[in-house]
Subunit: 290 residues, 4 copies
């Protein structure tokens, strides 16, 4: 015999674009370009067991609400939007006791001082995930993804153990590149989301650039601590850093030097370093990472 | 103050291809085409805190071991390979107390009866994740991904609640399509991995095809139960089913009928249904899903 | 001063799915899953020069026609569909003198003998491009893409020139893998499109598998000739074959042999071999490859 | 009977990263991040017909040369690099009469004023293709790809013909977004490549932002003319502009207004507008676009 041990359902990747007409400081438009995913859970097991949809608010309705809330709330920060949307589902649908709303924000830059023209800024993706649970309360995590950074020097790697499969030479100078996926958990809901995001992003960049690195792990920890320091409202940081290997090309067979000038950028495989850093006084995470 | 609350590191996406020369029944070659990712944890905090790599077996060594074990073990099932590789890291590196080895297997079909020629079979990706922990023991999960299936009829959706954002009409006949991501946990390590995989895959397909569906949730549960029934060695099934919407195109403006014949296959957004089904006598999951 | 030297416009990647209910031999459903792109040209320069759209049939209308023709024509071969749709645009819009219709067909297999259930067969993508021009006439090219094939032996590479940048050793036995993009041009419009496609695909596979290869170029030529031989209605074949390198892994540092058993499948860079083979009596290509 | 009507071969997507140490104005590093593809043709038919590789410089050697030239030339503009590399192949290999070298340059920004730290700037990809032919001479085309731009207003679409499949309403105000692929051909090889690229890119952006648009075709022509005007060394511009549809969401069923504020960003299908604009005094293109 078996049983349903967990379930949730929703609409994924709703492409919501919200223009705040003349809403920018100085009068130009604001552009919020979001990929929104909603997911509901609660008393929904009948749909799994018998196909009874009495408690299943259609995912199409969730999509409609995602658009309607974007209109009603204005071109707000994604965290503020996700909070309102998550609460709406739980408050308005009695069988639904938990909602998860995830927003990926795609960046745009104004073209010079023009009010209405934009170019896509793909430097990073801004992310947030709100979980609102009737019993466990509400959590907000935010983060960045797709942020690729590189130091041309200031990185070593040596002193590691050598087993029978170890052929890697030690190095006192290497290129270090990674694609930052960072997520931080907030202590409360009383946060200036935009400023906090900017501070966290800047702290990540600054820590990556200024940490003299003996291991990507060390850089990871420094980046996480920098976020905690720059954003007092944050209490936990999770980082996932692929080591995007840049191998120095051996030009000696062609009689040429290569004084840390020419590299082969490898695709796969890549190192992958993960870590979680927690403030000593962090409240329990609850459902934040579900 | 803050602290490292969790960390692991390894080599991701090592592209290992193992030919079993004349190893097939009847004498042709066997081709194992794998993307292997290894990840180690244990007494590694010094690398995060100070860049001391004394306990950090290089990810490059992990990659070398991934290739070396493929040679030594032969063209075996991916679960058998992952088990050996995970145990090796923990057994040979005292500071390492846990290893996670994930293998994606990409399918190939022999061209007719030819011994040495293959075509890529991209119908699905076979997956396995082994976690071997010095204390918590060893777990194996296996699964399929990228398996796209479709029923041209035999699916309804009605009887759902309607809120102020609900405009979806009820339907007594719709096309149902999804891309199956399914993972099942094994009760033990004493399993005929190849047969179990085939039985699980066939059960998923058969349950999808034969379940008259009032909700994709219902289809999901039926598919999970079918795996548990077909593979007694499995005790838990997790499914993630995107509802790949196919919308009937309204041809009335052009004076044409559309009797369930012409559909628009939408990309985004899509419904997303998730569920976990557990055998009543399932042992605790431990670290299997980490 | 400058001038418009060429222009065309249309709707790209319309996702048309056509079910032929009970249309298969034996009674099950037929599934045509297409990505359709239309492109029109003719007397359309005003839209470029002044934004005058008098002659610009909207791309939205082209999309609607793509769906409507799928209904009207039934679950026909993609070449037959593309021909009708291309003629329609030119015949019905006087300023439009040329239409190009491209169809990518995504494969599906019936699940066993079930009438209504399918699994996606991603072994290859079937392609066709029809160009219909009021003056130059009508051409049909068809092809395959995404077809990945591999020989575990039967390939050598030696006897090449060596310059100052050459370090590659000669080899008398290597693995040979490629992702076939092949396109063939038909001599006429009086063709059994389905049979011709099957014959061409089978000829490509057979030639790849049976050609003992001293260069991927040689395999390419053999594959092209095989299509011309198998499909008398074809008169020109274009092939694009990436050399998907599989490098033998050096396991000697670990004291292990590697008798052509363990390979690293590289992503980038890759060799890329292109070629066009023409029947001696091929009619002029006209606009077929535009 | 059939014959080889065309062939070329080379190495595709070599990932070359060149650091110019302290080479930036002011002393920081310069980072050239390139994906380089080389392709050779000439007296190479024997490799296709019989597998005789006597004239086939290995693609591996081409790759090595790509790295070696990056070292020797320094962190130069991609056009300068491609010219040198193309000439080398033709000059050094008598059977090779033509070389095509394509470079995609991936952007990086310095982190503040730091000398060694960079973030990936994915706003656009810079491209160049050099064709050097023993007989036909040398051509350079350059361009941008992946540049996504959007105007929140200033675009209309009306006055188009209506056929039986036309349901699209006319609009006097719509959002206009596209992903710019632009390529321009140079008249000569005596060009300041860096300045020309910047001028062309700025002209594209400015023309997109300032053209009041009655058709994306009109915007395309304006963008092309702007490049010709801003870069006197250019003589031909080719543009490919997908119309990335943003559909105004109908919120009326929910009792909400939508005054050009909330849009659904569609993936597929999309309009696709192509055009070529030629200076009246443009020299013949020769092999530039091969």
């Amino acid at each position: 015999m078996s049983r349903l041990a967990g379930g949730r359902y929703g609409k994924a990747e709703v492409r919501v674009v919200r223009v705040g007409r003349a809403a920018a400081p100085g009068g130009g438009d604001v552009l919020r370009d979001w990929t929104v995913s909603t997911s509901l859970s609660g008393d929904i097991s009948a749909s799994y067991l018998t196909g009874d949809n009495e408690n299943v608010l259609p995912t199409d309705s969730q999509k409609n609400a995602a658009f309607a809330f974007a209109q009603r709330l204005g071109a707000v920060e994604p965290e503020a939007y996700a909070l309102e949307l998550a609460r709406f589902f739980v408050d308005s649908q009695p069988p639904i006791t938990r909602a998860r709303v995830a927003v990926d924000e795609h960046g745009w830059d104004r073209v010079g001082t023009r009010a209405h023209s934009f170019t896509r800024n793909a430097t990073l993706t801004r992310r947030t995930v709100v979980v609102h649970d009737e019993t466990a309360g509400t959590s907000v995590i935010s983060g960045v993804a797709d942020l690729v950074v590189l130091n041309t020097t200031g990185s070593e790697f040596w002193g590691f153990p050598r087993d029978e499969y170890t052929t890697l030479p030690e190095t006192k100078d290497r290129m270090l590149a990674t694609e930052v996926s960072a997520t931080w958990r907030y202590r409360s809901l009383d946060v200036d989301w935009g400023s906090a995001f900017t501070a966290a992003r800047d702290a990540l960049l600054e820590a990556f650039a200024t940490t003299y690195s003996y291991a990507l792990q060390q850089t990871l920890f420094a980046m996480a601590e920098a976020v905690l320091a720059a954003v007092p409202a944050s209490c936990e940081v999770r980082l996932r850093l692929p080591n995007k290997h840049h191998f120095l090309v051996d030009l000696a067979p062609f009689g040429q030097p290569n004084d840390d000038e020419v590299y082969f950028a490898a695709d796969r495989p890549y190192g992958l370093i993960e870590g979680t850093v927690l403030a000593d006084d962090a409240p329990a995470a609850g459902l934040a990472w579900e």
